[in-house]
């Protein structure tokens, strides 16, 4: 129990780091877990963040990270695949390790997830989002890994290593790190075909026979990340205390809705952290 932390912040963008520094300011133990780079890094100029006129998104993000580091907060990179609310604490599956936290702040940004035909229908019947979760069930069987995330190649190699007959599909050329024994198809999966369970996928115009398809996107839909989480128009539903419908679970930044702006993200991160700290104190 001693390694259960007070606050797990999911996402290392402006909302996440704002939450983290404010959590530390309230004397809480915190870890920042991040799957991807914030889009702020790609912003050419930022002109609407008070005090920083005509600065690049990259430079501003660097300042944010330096600020966090000065307070001892180093973002940990990996994939949070599931977050399970368990009453008075949460379990987080972070890159295959379980982290326990009393509260969680979701600062996961927005992801454009376009489900493909058959995906929802065959989820758990051949469709999986997690190689390390379901891989063992496909040992000795055919599985297509559709790589939309940067770590998808690693997952494909992992599946190959445990004895799955893997085909890797992704746009562009064959990735260098892909195990030489894994066949590669350049393209995107456009449809999942099956009856009771998956029998094939459509890649470009071709039908590829397979029993499994691992869809590895950069982001996971919030409702797939946390069971029971309420959303509205694709955004996480919060009140003005940044509370979600699940006690102890807060959200901040772009994932809670428009405007998708830096100042709002930073402000919401602060509110979420203070409310999480208050919630933790109320449990004692």
């Amino acid at each position: 129990m001693s390694d259960r932390i007070d606050i797990a912040v999911i996402g290392g963008g402006p909302a996440g780091l704002s939450a983290a520094i404010n959590a530390v300011a309230r004397g809480k133990t915190v870890r920042v877990l991040s799957a991807s780079e914030t889009p702020l890094k790609r912003a050419e100029t930022v002109d609407n963040y008070l005090g920083f006129y005509n600065i690049t998104g990259g430079d501003l993000m660097k300042k944010f990270e330096e600020h966090a580091l000065a307070l001892g907060i180093a973002t940990e990179h990996g994939r949070a695949a599931n977050i399970m609310p368990l009453g008075n604490y949460f379990m987080i599956n972070f890159s295959g390790n379980i982290i326990e936290a009393t509260t969680v702040i979701l600062a996961i940004g927005v992801a454009r997830i376009r489900e493909i035909p058959g995906e929802a229908e065959f989820l758990g019947k051949g469709v999986s989002y997690c190689a390390t979760c379901d891989g063992m069930l496909f040992r000795g069987k055919k599985a297509v890994v559709w790589g939309l995330a940067s770590d998808a190649v690693e997952e494909a190699n992992f599946l190959h290593g445990i004895g799955v007959d893997v085909t890797f599909a992704a746009k562009g050329g064959r990735p260098e790190e892909l195990n030489a024994d894994i066949p590669f198809i350049s393209g995107a999966v456009s449809e999942i075909i099956g009856e009771k369970s998956v029998t094939a996928v459509k890649i470009n115009k071709d039908i590829v026979d397979t029993e499994g398809v691992f869809i590895l996107r950069q982001a996971i839909a919030p409702t797939n990340l946390v069971p029971g989480l309420e959303t509205e128009n694709g955004y996480i539903k919060v009140n003005n205390k940044m509370e979600t419908n699940i006690p102890g679970l807060f959200a901040a930044g772009d994932c809670t809705g428009v405007p998708l702006q830096l100042s709002k993200a930073v402000g919401e991160g602060l509110v979420a952290a203070q409310m999480a700290a208050k919630y933790i104190d109320s449990l004692k």
Partner: protein, 109 residues
């Protein structure tokens, strides 16, 4: 006090699901992270429904025969049986409500 969660073998499993008490079965494995996360929920259900619903866990590696029989392709998968029939199959991590709703419906229906 009887254990609130049981670990049946194949023979015991077949007897269980054909009996008169509803059975909730959690198909899981040692290496499966989400299964570990569901563990506390399953144990809680076992305590909550003790005497009314049998809560069982089946390791898909140890009893691959059962996993194959029910076409388990993703774990955790929870199957709820009543009088030998499948009432519901719930794939993946869910919050406790997803399970209690089905069980309460069965017990009160």
């Amino acid at each position: 006090m009887a254990a609130s969660v049981i670990y049946p073998n194949v023979e015991e499993f077949d007897q269980l699901i054909s009996g008169g008490t509803p059975v909730l079965v959690d198909f899981w494995a040692e290496w499966c992270m989400p299964c570990k996360m569901l563990g506390p929920v399953i144990e809680q259900l076992g305590e909550q429904y003790q005497g009314r619903v049998t809560v069982a866990k089946v390791d898909v590696d140890e009893h691959s025969e059962l996993a194959a029989r029910y076409g388990i392709q993703s774990i955790p998968t929870v199957i709820i049986f009543n009088k030998g029939e499948i009432v519901d199959t719930i794939v993946g991590l869910r919050n406790p409500d997803a399970y209690t709703k089905v069980l309460d419906g069965l017990l009160n229906g």
